[in-house]
């Protein structure tokens, strides 16, 4: 087999390639050979009924948990078995379903931390400029010096997403249920932020969500997870017509 040139640009090569990921908790198989490929610059939705293994998949991809089997590549970098902080440093950043912000730190410090942890690329000046930009876009500017613990649930989600955007050169953002339980105004702000980062910084997104109208607006392609595996991929309206998907959501047996 011919060795590919190391820096040969392969625009068609997937940015994220997860092959055959499996994870078992005792007798429960949470992920059973999940394969997922994301193209560069894509906004992919990940949907599926509760307990289908979406969060487990996110945890495996971002290194919070170690897969029992399977491989993960981001661009040319093999991520399987790497610790979470190394995966983050390679440009794969996530948010949590229940926003994990640093409550006793200021909003500003919450945003600066991932930038500083990445080694302040471009210098502190660049970080400050980006900070100001994101504070304005996220409508959190007035709260910059407040403790993050004083923020509402929706504002925390915005802060958590922006903290990821603070790392320049991030190639993939994995957002786990970013729209769950937050008010419509904050939802719109977050949607605009995601669109803007996608267009101006060519960021790729994997968004886990139950909010079908938002998924329809944001994600040209969705992957449907059922019982620990990817059951379907395609446009939301197409996959939503599939009998196995309907059965998984509404109960009953797939034909």
């Amino acid at each position: 087999m011919a060795t590919p040139l190391p820096d040969a640009p392969r625009p068609d090569a997937p940015l994220l390639e997860a092959l055959g990921l499996s994870k078992r908790y005792g007798g429960l198989i949470a992920n059973n050979g999940v394969t997922l490929r994301l193209a560069r610059g894509e906004i992919r939705g990940l949907i599926g009924p509760n307990g289908a293994g979406k969060t487990t998949l996110v945890n495996l991809i971002t290194g919070i948990e170690t897969a029992d089997a399977g491989r993960i590549r981001l661009g040319d970098v093999e991520l399987s078995g790497r610790p979470a902080h190394a995966i983050a440093a390679h440009g794969l950043i996530r948010t949590f379903q229940v926003a994990r912000v640093f409550e006793s730190l200021s909003v500003r410090d919450n945003l600066l931390l991932p930038f500083l942890a990445a080694g302040s690329p471009g210098g502190l000046g660049a970080g400050r400029a980006r900070l100001a930009e994101l504070l304005a876009l996220s409508t959190l500017a007035a709260l910059a010096d407040d403790r993050a613990g004083t923020l509402s649930g929706g504002q925390r989600m915005l802060l958590q997403a922006c903290a990821g955007f603070m790392v320049p050169g991030v190639s993939l953002h994995v957002l786990d249920e970013p729209f769950a339980g937050i008010n419509p105004v904050v939802k719109d702000t977050l949607i605009q932020l995601i669109r803007r980062e996608n267009e101006s910084h060519a960021c790729t997104f994997l968004i886990v969500s139950h909010e079908m109208d938002i998924v329809r607006r944001l994600c040209p392609i969705v992957s449907v997870m059922i019982e620990g595996a990817i059951a379907a991929e395609g446009r939301l309206d197409e996959v939503a017509r599939r009998a196995d998907v309907i059965a998984a959501y509404l109960g009953g047996n797939a034909p």
Binding site: A88, F102, S104
Partner: protein, 298 residues
């Protein structure tokens, strides 16, 4: 016992001076706990190592005029030792997730305590040493103060200041404050939390080593000199609240004052009892400590 204003002021001064050193010790314990989430029972042995470094440096190498350099060497030495030991001894409890982390850490750090204490006996014998101090008596108004004590107190305040600067103004400090709140989130922010553990452990034991070095001419250098300070450190943790930095500072000063006042106005042989009375009182009124937010989970 005759009461006089001078005696009261003298007592308050000496209480505050020793209290600052206690606070340094307690700060180390509480700081390590807040990041690594375990208690380092070998804290007093790092105090002991600091005092031995101080003695060796002053007595054999530098001479008494360079006592301050010796103290910095003691802090640096214990810092490096902590940086070296933490990944070997404590990291396994996170890297290979354990069911009973607290138990593991307790056994490992008590084993370290025994090892270091016996190492000190093997190397220096069971003897007491005292590094020479040529610091003159300091007069505060009409009140004479032992020079070494005043110097220890001033340098301890300085160390607290440096600690504050590192925590509040540097990016490592920011990462440490973040890690104290959420170990998983700090990793997803791209920070290597295991390296942070080692740094936090090293900073904590360096505070103890520095306290040991500063107090070496006052409380002497011998293999078990860390035992008493460890006990004081934990008294302060109970008083101030585990994991609370203000608690460590206030608790340290409070303990120093109460011991000193009790010794002067009640009875000096019972000096160590007054602190425990305060601990019992706090446990009755405010079981989580003055600044503590939650109890330790079983």
């Amino acid at each position: 016992m005759i009461f006089s204003t001078e005696l009261l002021i003298q007592t308050l001064l000496s209480g505050l001076m020793v209290g600052v050193l206690y606070a340094l010790m307690a700060l180390g314990i509480t700081f390590i706990y807040s990041i690594v989430k375990t208690i380092n029972w070998a804290m007093g042995e790092f105090y002991m190592i600091g005092s031995y470094i101080q003695f060796v440096a002053v007595h054999f190498l530098l001479g008494p005029s360079w006592w301050w350099l010796a103290a910095i060497l003691a802090a640096a030495g214990t810092f490096l030792l902590g940086l070296l030991l933490e990944p070997i001894l404590l990291k396994p409890m996170y890297a290979r997730p354990l069911q009973r982390r607290d138990d593991y850490a307790t056994v490992v750090t008590i084993a370290l305590l025994l090892l270091l204490r016996n190492l000190a006996v093997a190397l220096g014998g069971p003897n007491q040493y005292r590094p020479e101090s040529n610091l003159p008596v300091v007069w505060i108004g009409p009140l004479p103060q032992e020079g070494a004590r005043v110097a220890a107190c001033l340098f301890a305040v300085l160390a607290l200041g440096v600690f504050w600067l590192v925590i509040k103004k540097t990016w490592v400090g920011l990462a440490l404050r973040a890690a104290a709140q959420n170990r998983v989130a700090v990793q997803t922010a791209g920070v290597d939390v295991y390296r942070l553990d080692a740094v936090a452990f090293a900073i904590g034991v360096a505070l103890a080593g520095f306290a040991g070095a500063l107090l070496a001419p006052v409380f002497m250098v011998f293999p078990t000199n860390g035992a008493v300070t460890t006990v004081k450190g934990f008294e302060i943790i109970v008083i101030g609240g585990l994991g609370s930095i203000p608690g460590a500072l206030v608790g340290g000063l409070l303990l120093g004052l109460i011991e000193s006042l009790g010794a002067a106005f009640i009875s000096s042989p019972y000096q160590n009892v007054y602190g425990f009375l305060l601990v019992i009182l706090i446990l009755i009124i405010k079981p989580n400590g003055l600044f503590g937010e939650r109890g330790r989970e079983a």
